[in-house]
Structures are given as structure tokens and as C-alpha cells.
Amino acid sequence: MKLEEAPASAAIPSAIGEASLLRRKRTPLTVWIAMVFVAIVIVCAAFGRQIAPYPPNQQDLLLGDTSPSAEHWAGTDLLGRDVLSRTIVGARTALVGPAVVAAGAFAIATLLGLMAGYLGGKADSVVMRWVDFMFALPGPLIAIVIVGVVGGGFWTAVAVLVVLFTAPDTRIVRSAVLEQRPLPYIEAARTLGISRRRIMFRHIFPNILPLIAAYVVLDFAFALVSLAGLSFLGLGVPPGTADWGRMLFENRTILLTNPMAALLPAAAIVFTAASINVLGDWTYERMSAR
């Protein structure tokens, strides 16, 4: 038995097929579907109000909850609001929050990971001790409690998720930095007397950027699901907002009269997150195959 061969790569995300087989193959169909779906969601997020057949908050209390019809393709909710329109407009909060979470977490994680991995020593042990501590905590439950107790809704939720996501991301960046550190180009740079900061940000950073990009995409999907979960518990966006998680929360009681009111936003969450995950896995495999 070879003990030196640590199974470090065992837990890496892997889908669509093995990287080696894929390298020169054309883009798989699932990736195309995912791209198109994400593009549609982005368009909805940008121009939702123009596309939606009705204003998302236009109530019709006399109408109430109705099942799908020619006027309302996905029916209406308890307040007579058009479910399809609300789902289209809901794309905005579904994308904006996760984008901030993924970008924010990785900005901090890159800084901490570079410091821990390259500087080593005290910086490394402090950062990693903090990461280990965060790993010992039930992150999502912490998010529920803090957002609920502190209040502040959506942006509190985003801020808490940034902190929670930073820990695992830091670990990823650090191990990528540790892989780069013994390489000849770093040694050469060091011999030339280039400053540590410059080596970290100008030399190592560009080399780990592709990996970071892949993980940002995966983080994005996870943040989307997490934020939707908080909204579903009534903790994210304020009541009345056209938001997928919130719609599920409000409309799960009318599953018998208009199931579409809950199923459509649920499907929107699942398919958007799945598409982004597919794209993330695909990016990861392309990057690691290089």
C-alpha cells in the first residue's frame, strides 16, 4: 500500500463524465440546456417587469386564488396576483443576492487563502483555526438564527451567508496556493527579489483564478438555494416581495386550489440551481483538465 498517495482528489465535484474523456469533446447537451436556461433567467432578472404579462403586485381580491386559465397561465395566488408574472419578476432577487454572496465570499477567501497559503506561519495558523471553527458550526442554522434575531431581512441574510461561505472557500484557495508555492516560477520570482505581495497577487493569483471561477459558480448555486430557504422560512425578503422562496412560503397553503402557485417557483429554484451547478461542474472540469 502506498501511503503517500493521499486521496486528496476524491471529494472533488465530478459530473458529466471524466475530464480526460471530455477534453477535446464538444460541449455536452446538458451544458447547452443549462446555458440557455440561465440566459433566460438573466433576461427575466434584467427586464422582468417589461416581460411579465401583469404587474407582479397587482391584486385582484375578488378573483382570489384560481387555477391556470387563458388570462393567467399559471393561475393566481390568494390575493389574486398573477403567479407567472411574480415568478418572472422574482428572478431578480434570486440572482442578485447569490451574486453578492459568491463574489463577496470569494474576495475575502482569496485574500485570506493567499495569506494563509503563501505566508504560512502565524497567518496560516490563525486563519485555519478560524476556518476549523466555522466548520464545526451548523452554518445554515446559524444563518436562520442570526437573520431572525438581528432582523434586517435580505441584506442581513446576504451578509451572514458571505461570512459562512468564506470559510470553506478559504480552504479551497489555500490548498490551491499550496500547490503553486513549490513550483519553479515562484522560486524564480523570489530569487529575483520580488515582494511577497506582488508574488501573491501578480503571480499566484492569476494561476489559481480559473479554479476560483469554477467554485464561484458552484457557490452561486448554493447561495441561491440557501437564500431561497431563508425566504421560505419568512426571514429573507420582506413580505409581499415577488421572490421564489417567499412565494413558496405564501402559496404552500393553496396547493389544493392552485398547485401552480407553489410548484412554479419551486421549479424555478430547482432548475436555476441545477443549471448553475451543471455549468459550475463543467467549468471545474475544463479548468482542471488543462
Binding site: L3, A6, P7, S9, A10, A11, I12, P13, S14, A15, I16, G17, E18, L21, T30, F133, F135, A136, L137, P138, G139, P140, L141, I142, I144, V145, I146, G148, V149, V150, G151, A221, V225, A228, G229, F232, L233, G234, L235, L248, R252, L255, L256, P259, A262, L263, A266, A267, I269, V270, F271, A273, A274, I276, N277, V278, D281
Partner: protein, 321 residues
């Protein structure tokens, strides 16, 4: 040898967990001060805020003492299993938790059986048929599983099997074991599926890696039955990463349980936490978070112990855990 004995290892880990638990308890206690506004008012809840009641609350929770003294008083009570009373109806927090716990445990065990019982075989199957249609199908299930939050899956299951087909009850938790299983099947599957994606991903990746190792080729060359190679050699080694991920899986199950209990309206610990959070019932929140966090810390130790039993090299510090 003495240094590497199992009881010594467990003891060392338990001692090492004490500072972590203290840190967590400090964070949990600080929740009172984290809530916006006067802590006395947030502890008062829906009761009338007269100067007398506020003074009584201040007295009861020692709010006029310095923070660290308040914390120590609170900690002394927590150690003897006194978590205070709910600010709504003044029920004992410990008895509320005891009441809700069995359902959540039942749901968690059932859910993890679903996740592991379906996830591991699917992962193994996909690894064997790597690159085939079957593999792609399983990977797709895995991606959906990772992407679908438990409440979304729950709504789909509730609609299809509860409302549309009418096979399962759409609310309630049932009486007696069989009825309970029947009532909690949809929630348990919603919970299990949300964790299954991760199980499939890890099992598949580590099975593929194991299958490419020399000993498998050797065993095949020696003419060992394929089933024997899988069950007694490959699967055993391949499941180590799954054990490593057990921490993630359990945290996933806990989060999922919160969402599933709310989706299906089940009176478990998770829905208690959510209602306490919405009502800002600080003592109840503190109690639940403290218990769940301690559970997770102890579980991490349990996983590491399990790990040393599977792979004794770890205990002797020859490979990194």
C-alpha cells in the same frame, strides 16, 4: 501504543472540544444582546412592558450585572440542564425540547436511511457503468439532488403523492410506529433526497478512483468474482470519503429537517426553532442552538473515532485525517 489507544484518543478529543463548546455557548448567550433594542424588552416578549415587569426581568436575568457575570450565571444554569423558560407562555425550554425531539430524530434517521440506502447503490452503479447512459442519469439525479432544497422537493412530493395521487397523508405525524412511518414517508424522502445528491457525488467519485487501483486489477486477474471484489474490497475503501463527509451530511440533514418540518407542518425541533426565531423567543432559540451545536461537535468526534476504526493509520498520525 499507549498514546494511540482508542480511549486515550477519545478522551483527548473530548478535552479538546471543551474550549469550542465554551466559545459556542458564549456566542449563543450573546444572542440576547444581538437582538436590536433593550434586552429586557426582547426577553419580555408579548407581555406588558410596565416599569415593574421590566425591573422584574432585569432582576431575573441579572441584566444589570456586567456581561461576563451574566454569562457565567447563565452557564452555571445550563450545565445543570436549566435552559430557562420560553418568553411565550413561560414553558420550560427543556421540556419543550424533549417534547419535540423524538419527531426530529425519527425524521432524521428515516431521512438518512433514504439518502444512504438509495444514494450509495446509485453511486456504485454509476461508477461501474461510467460514461454510459445509466451513469449520466445518476449524475443528473445527483445534480438535481444537490440543487433542490428540501422544501422545494417537499412541495413536489406533497403535490404528486399527497394531493394528486392521494397515496400519503398530507399532514399530521401519525400514531404508533407503522402509522408514523406512513405519515413521515413524504417528509423523510424530501429530506433524504436533499442530502442524496452529495452522497451520490462522493460515492461515485471515490468508487471510480478505487476501481482504477492496482489491487482491483490484481484481484480480477486472479479470477475473483466481481461481486466479491466490489463488496469486500472496493466498496469498503470507497466509503471512507463518505464517512469523511458525514459531518456535511448531518448538517445537511439538520438544515433539511428545519425546512421539511415547516413545509409539512410537523411539530419537531426545527419548526420550533423557526417559530421561536420569528417570535424572537431568545431562551428557546438559545436552548435549541446550544443542543444542536453540541450535538454536531460530538458527532464530529464520533466520526473521527469511527474513522480510526476503519483506518487505524489515522490514529497513529501517519496520514492526515
Amino acid at each position: 501504543m499507549r498514546d494511540g489507544s482508542l480511549p486515550a484518543y477519545v478522551l483527548r478529543r473530548l478535552v479538546a472540544a471543551i474550549p469550542l463548546l465554551l466559545l459556542i455557548s458564549l456566542g449563543v448567550f450573546a444572542l440576547v444582546n444581538l437582538a436590536p433594542g433593550d434586552p429586557a424588552r426582547s426577553l419580555l416578549g408579548s407581555r406588558q412592558a410596565s416599569p415593574e415587569t421590566l425591573a422584574a426581568i432585569r432582576e431575573q436575568y441579572n441584566l444589570d450585572e456586567p456581561f461576563i457575570v451574566q454569562y457565567l450565571i447563565w452557564l452555571r444554569q445550563v450545565v445543570v440542564w436549566d435552559l430557562g423558560r420560553s418568553i411565550q407562555g413561560s414553558e420550560l425550554v427543556t421540556s419543550m425540547i424533549w417534547q419535540r425531539l423524538p419527531l426530529t430524530v425519527f425524521l432524521g434517521v428515516y431521512g438518512s436511511l433514504v439518502a444512504l440506502g438509495i444514494g450509495i447503490p446509485l453511486g456504485v452503479l454509476a461508477a461501474y457503468k461510467q460514461g454510459s447512459e445509466v451513469d449520466r442519469g445518476v449524475v443528473a439525479i445527483g445534480v438535481i439532488g444537490v440543487s433542490a432544497p428540501a422544501f422545494a422537493t417537499g412541495i413536489f412530493l406533497l403535490y404528486v403523492f399527497g394531493v394528486y395521487l392521494g397515496w400519503f397523508p398530507i399532514f399530521g405525524q401519525g400514531e404508533g410506529f407503522v402509522d408514523k412511518v406512513w405519515h413521515l414517508t413524504l417528509p423523510a424522502f424530501a429530506l433524504g433526497i436533499s442530502v442524496m445528491g452529495l452522497v451520490i457525488k462522493i460515492t461515485r467519485a471515490s468508487m471510480i478512483e478505487e476501481l482504477h487501483k492496482d489491487y482491483v486489477a490484481f484481484a480480477r486477474a486472479r479470477g475473483l468474482a466481481s461481486r466479491r471484489i466490489t463488496t469486500s474490497y472496493v466498496l469498503r475503501n470507497a466509503l471512507i470519503p463518505v464517512v469523511t463527509a458525514a459531518g456535511l451530511i448531518v448538517v445537511g440533514l439538520l438544515t433539511g429537517a428545519v425546512l421539511v418540518e415547516v413545509t409539512f407542518g410537523l411539530p419537531g425541533l426545527g419548526s420550533l426553532l423557526v417559530s421561536a426565531v420569528t417570535q424572537r423567543d431568545i431562551p428557546v432559540i438559545q436552548g435549541i442552538v446550544l443542543i444542536l451545536a453540541s450535538f454536531i461537535v460530538l458527532m464530529h468526534i464520533g466520526i473521527d473515532v469511527l474513522y480510526t476504526l476503519i483506518d487505524p493509520r489515522i490514529r497513529f498520525g501517519r496520514v492526515e485525517a
